[in-house]
Structures are given as structure tokens and as C-alpha cells.
């Protein structure tokens, strides 16, 4: 369920879905399928519904109409909130994720070194800088070894070197048969990415 092997059918498929929040339809008529190897960049102005769409893809909310198929246990969402326990050290957070996703120690160690967590591995995460915390949050995605990454502004607050690392990680994940949907306002240098653009009708 949590392995990285390729599934045969699209693991996430949206057909003409509409999403509502607080009685308002935020996005309408979204159709696309995420196949192994696919990398989508999700663009659109503030408030156009990128976050809303990603959360629906992750299974947190149901579309008001249209059909959304998703294989259970194959997606992983990185939201704005870093989902990091401030009272724990980075190491403790990572260990918990390892246990939660049943990750092998080798996977965990690789993720730590790729994302350069080491300098603050034993620091309480409550005292991390915003970019450090974001790197740690991305570490969870890598550790989960789930095939479909749903990333909401993954590089928010990261410095140039970290952005490059994140881009490499995501691109590498997709090359090796995973897939990703990345909502972002930055011009991230991905080769061969497709885009979904949400345009405010107003």
C-alpha cells in the first residue's frame, strides 16, 4: 500500500469536478488524470482554489459534483502547516514519521542527508527558522514513499540552494515512476512539466 511501485491505472483521476467552500463554488470543471511519471504544476492567482483542489485530491474533501477517483493510501499532501511537533526535535519528528509510514532506516537516512537536516537534527523544531522547518516538512513526504506527491507551495521560505534540492527531489521522484502535483507561485525549473492553470473568472 505504501510502496513506490507503479500502479497500472491512473491513481488519481478528476473528471469535471467542482469544489465548494462555505457555500461558494471555488473551482469548477477540473479534468485531468495523474499517471505514473506525471508532473503537474498548479498555477493560479491567490484565492483561485489551488489549495482547495490539492486537499480534494488528497481525499480531505469531496467534490460537490463531478467524479474524483483516487487510490486509497497512495497520495501524500504537504500543506502550509508543516505538521511538525514543536516540542520534539527534528530527529524525534522524523522517527515518528518513520514508524507511521513503516519506512526503512536507509530511506530515512537518505532523506535526512538529501534535505540537509543534519545541522539541526537535535534541535527543538519550535526554534527552527522557517526555511529549516519547511525542509523538515518535505522530509516527511520523502520518507512516506508514497507514489503521488501533492505539494502546496513546497518551496515557501526556502533559500535558493534548498529550492534546487527540492526541485531535484521532485523531478527525481517523477523520473522513477512517481508523480506529483505542485501548487506554486514561483517559476520552478522543471523540465517537461504539465500545467494546470486556475483562472479567476471574476
Amino acid at each position: 500500500m505504501t510502496d513506490g511501485t507503479k500502479p497500472s491505472a491512473p491513481a488519481v483521476e478528476a473528471r469535471d469536478i467542482s469544489l465548494r467552500r462555505g457555500g461558494r463554488t471555488i473551482v469548477a470543471g477540473v479534468t485531468f488524470a495523474v499517471n505514473p511519471g506525471d508532473l503537474y504544476l498548479l498555477h493560479g492567482p491567490n484565492g483561485s482554489g489551488k489549495t482547495t483542489l490539492l486537499r480534494a485530491l488528497a481525499g480531505f474533501s469531496r467534490p460537490a459534483c463531478g467524479s474524483l477517483k483516487r487510490a486509497v493510501g497512495r497520495t501524500i499532501l504537504l500543506g502550509y502547516a508543516d505538521a511538525v511537533k514543536a516540542a520534539f526535535t527534528a530527529k524525534e519528528n522524523i522517527d515518528f514519521w518513520g514508524a507511521l509510514y513503516g519506512a526503512a532506516p536507509a530511506t530515512v537516512e537518505r532523506a535526512i542527508s538529501q534535505l540537509r537536516i543534519f545541522p539541526f537534527l537535535n534541535q527543538r523544531t519550535g526554534t527552527l527558522s522557517s526555511g529549516q522547518r519547511r525542509r523538515l516538512a518535505l522530509c516527511r513526504v520523502v520518507i512516506s514513499r508514497r507514489p503521488i506527491w501533492l505539494l502546496d507551495e513546497p518551496t515557501a521560505g526556502m533559500d535558493a540552494a534548498s529550492v534546487a534540492t527540492a526541485v531535484d527531489l521532485i523531478a527525481g521522484h517523477c523520473r522513477s515512476g512517481g508523480s506529483a502535483v505542485v501548487a506554486t507561485h514561483e517559476a520552478l525549473p522543471f523540465a517537461g512539466a504539465r500545467t494546470i492553470t486556475l483562472a479567476d473568472a471574476a
Binding site: S18, R21, G22, G23, R24, T25, I26, V27, A28, G29, V30, T31, F32, Y40, G44, S48, G49, R194, T195, I196, T197, L198, A199, D200, A201, A202
Partner: protein, 246 residues
């Protein structure tokens, strides 16, 4: 019938016709009932004229339970079939139920002073009705605390269904604990044990309360539906964004 009602437009039409009928029926029954209760029924050999509080108290207590049960059924339908009309019904029944519960508490309390020599006692029946009152309040507050109608409906339904545990506790509290309050004499296995001259006005008053409840429920549901229509119109000003995949 159920499908007829499930359509909001048809519900509107039906409700518009039913409300006046129910209101008149309730009023007429109440007039008869009150006449019999106040003038045409005997004073109790133990309680004297204070027994007449019974005709207000007992039906109110029945309605307190009935309203909650209505809410629970509507909540279950709304939760399982996701039908908005059921949510609206559950939401609209709550304030009415709270009012009946309050009435039962107040009249019971008024009756308690002459009968037991105290306004209030921490006995199982009284306490569980007080708790029912809190439950109503909590349920109403929950609806008001959440902007998103759908989420509010689902969460309130969970609360209502879980709280339903309290209903059998109230109903049977007098049998389970030895309580100050008297045991059921009308709604009990083995038939009523109350004399006909008191039973008839009591039943009439019960019917009047129930008809009144139905009328109020329909009125309040129509109000809620209208409110939702207005909210929808207000939101129509901000159209959704469209997606292009490239």
C-alpha cells in the same frame, strides 16, 4: 410521500397549505382540552386543584421527548442520505423542542413546590430533563458556531444521535431509580392507569401540543429554506475559477 417531500419546491407548496390547517386544528383542540381540564375535570383527591398543572406539564414533557426523537430521526436521514431537507428539519425542530423542555421544567418546578415542598430536587428524572435541555442548547449552539452549513449539519447530526442515549434514560429513570417523580401512568406497558375524566383532557392537550409542534416546525423550516436561498444568491456574485490543463 417521502419523495414528494424531498423536493424543496413541492415541500414549500405542501407546507404553505398545511400550516394554516395545523394551526387551526391545534387551536381548536387546545380550546376543548383547556375547557375540560380547567372546568370539566375533577380536582384530585390528594392534590386538589394544583393537579391542573398536569394538563400543561405532562404534554410539554411528552413533546420534549418527541421533538428530540424527531430530530434524531431527521438527523439519521440527513447523515445517511445527505438530504438537505432532513438537515433543515432537524435544525428547525431544536428550538421548539428546547421551548417545550423549558416549559416542562418550569411547570414541573411550579408543581413541585406544592407537591414536594421544593422547586427543585436532584433526582434522576428532573436531572435528566435538565440535561436534555442542555443538549438542546448545545445542539443549537453547534449549528450557530459553524459557518459551513453542510459541515454543521453532519456534526450536529453526530451530536444528536449520540445524545439520543439520554432519551431512554429520561423515559425509564422513574422506573430504574426510586424517584420523587411519579412513574408513567399513561404511556406505559399494560395501558393507562389514570381515570378517564382526567385522561381525555390530557390526551386532547397532548394532541394540541403535537399539532402546534407540526405547524411551528413547518413555519420554521420554510424560514430556514428561505435564508439558504438568500445566502446562495449572495454567493452567486463570485463565480468559480476555471481550469485549463496544458
Amino acid at each position: 410521500m417521502a419523495f414528494d417531500l424531498a423536493n424543496p419546491q413541492r415541500f414549500e407548496k405542501l407546507a404553505a397549505r398545511l400550516v394554516p390547517l395545523l394551526t387551526i386544528a391545534s387551536g381548536v383542540t387546545a380550546l376543548f382540552g383547556l375547557y375540560m381540564a380547567l372546568f370539566d375535570s375533577p380536582a384530585d383527591y390528594q392534590q386538589g386543584d394544583s393537579v391542573r398543572i398536569m394538563y400543561v406539564h405532562v404534554p410539554a414533557a411528552w413533546m420534549a421527548l418527541l421533538c428530540y426523537s424527531t430530530m434524531a430521526i431527521a438527523s439519521a436521514i440527513g447523515f445517511i442520505f445527505k438530504h438537505p431537507l432532513a438537515d433543515v428539519a432537524a435544525k428547525s425542530a431544536a428550538p421548539i423542542g428546547a421551548a417545550f423542555t423549558f416549559l416542562a421544567l418550569v411547570t414541573g418546578s411550579l408543581w413541585g413546590k406544592p407537591m414536594w415542598g421544593t422547586w427543585w430536587a436532584w433526582d434522576a428524572r428532573l436531572t435528566s430533563v435538565l440535561i436534555l435541555f442542555f443538549l438542546y442548547i448545545g445542539y443549537i449552539a453547534l449549528w450557530n458556531a459553524i459557518d459551513d452549513k453542510i459541515r454543521a449539519a453532519r456534526l450536529a447530526a453526530i451530536v444528536c444521535l449520540v445524545g439520543f442515549i439520554n432519551i431512554p434514560i429520561i423515559k425509564f429513570s422513574v422506573d430504574w431509580w426510586n424517584s420523587l417523580h411519579q412513574p408513567a401512568s399513561v404511556l406505559r406497558a399494560g395501558g393507562p392507569t389514570i381515570h378517564g375524566s382526567m385522561l381525555t383532557p390530557l390526551i386532547l392537550m397532548g394532541a394540541a401540543y403535537a399539532l402546534g409542534f407540526a405547524a411551528l416546525l413547518l413555519v420554521s423550516m420554510r424560514g430556514e429554506l428561505a435564508e439558504r436561498r438568500i445566502a446562495r444568491l449572495e454567493q452567486a456574485g463570485r463565480p468559480p475559477s476555471k481550469a485549463t490543463v496544458a
